[in-house]
Symmetry: C2
Subunit: 199 residues, 2 copies
């Protein structure tokens, strides 16, 4: 396979994903068919099926790309300047805002994400695994420099994320949205006290 | 209305709820009809409808009774002996175990609870409100005696419950069940550090 040909294949794959994402946003995941995606791209459904063997596979690729974008943003903050605490707080806030944008502001995207959560859990699992590793890195650093209390970075970073679930988890963002309770800043302050206090 | 008659009315109401709960457990919420409940009780469906105007109303009464049982157990621990920390830890553990028993051990009860969560949110909301008040009381006491760090009891107790959500919330108990992560004891240790550390 020549390099130029491989490039075209990658482009076509990307174009299918972009078009699918746009149609999922515009008309909803359930209502979008592979035929709609093909028609919009002026190609045959058979050609779409050369790249993705089902609509589910397209959804998985779209969902994974959205999640990888969140991870890249979080990883950028983790690798940036500032104390471990400042970066962790920023990661929490950005994670929340991006998830909220994906799952609650846009009802049609929520439908797509919910489908991925129900039908393609391994995609969500991969995302959880990668974002956990990024959180763990910053916690490990903070423990290493003595900024955070001594502890197992894996357990501590996991605890932080479980504590913030109400502001991260798609279903909770919808279910808890509008109910009274601590703000994300108040909850983060509370959690940071646990991170900085020795057992 | 005579006292004896009122007593009989209350008894009949209780018997309908008990029978409904048993049928929900045995054959599932969706499959149980008001006619099934009436037949089991050897009464007419019309008589059941004198007490509850729909199956939904029966489900709400059954769900509320189960939730009030959880609340009474938690309130018993809150009012019992021991430090505020010891009681709070026990309340967390018992809350978790009772919810797990209701929602994950018994698939048919989960169906009933899920229906209540989707169709009768005000019942769930009442439960959340009452259990929050019990948690807040113990946190207020701990702050008052200096056992816990100074803070607003309402916010602190709310933070504790949000942090423990993974071990309390019906949907998360199912979704996170079997995934690796901190145990309820590890998470509680983490949260107690936040409760005891001044801002």
């Amino acid at each position: 396979m020549s390099l130029a040909f491989a490039q075209t294949e990658t482009d076509t794959r990307s174009r299918i994903m972009e078009t699918a994402e746009r149609l999922f946003r515009e008309i909803g995941y359930q209502k979008t068919t592979v035929a709609d995606i093909a028609r919009t791209l002026k190609m045959s459904p058979a050609n779409v099926y050369r790249f993705f063997d089902s609509k589910k596979a397209i959804n998985e690729a779209v969902a994974e790309r959205l999640m990888r974008h969140v991870e890249a943003t979080i990883a950028g903050i983790a690798a940036g300047p500032g104390t471990a605490e400042a970066r962790l707080r920023e990661m929490i806030l950005v994670m929340h805002r991006m998830n909220e944008g994906l799952y609650t502001s846009d009802q049609r995207m929520h439908e797509m994400v919910e489908t991925a959560m129900n039908e393609s859990w391994q995609v969500v699992e991969g995302h959880i695994h990668r974002k956990c590793a990024i959180f763990e890195g910053v916690v490990r650093e903070g423990i290493g420099t003595g900024e955070f209390a001594p502890g197992d970075p894996h357990t501590v970073s996991h605890c932080v994320q479980l504590c913030m679930m109400r502001y991260f988890h798609p279903l909770l963002l919808v279910q808890c949205g509008g109910t009274p309770g601590p703000s994300i800043e108040e909850l983060t302050d509370f959690v940071m006290r646990a991170v900085k206090t020795p057992a």
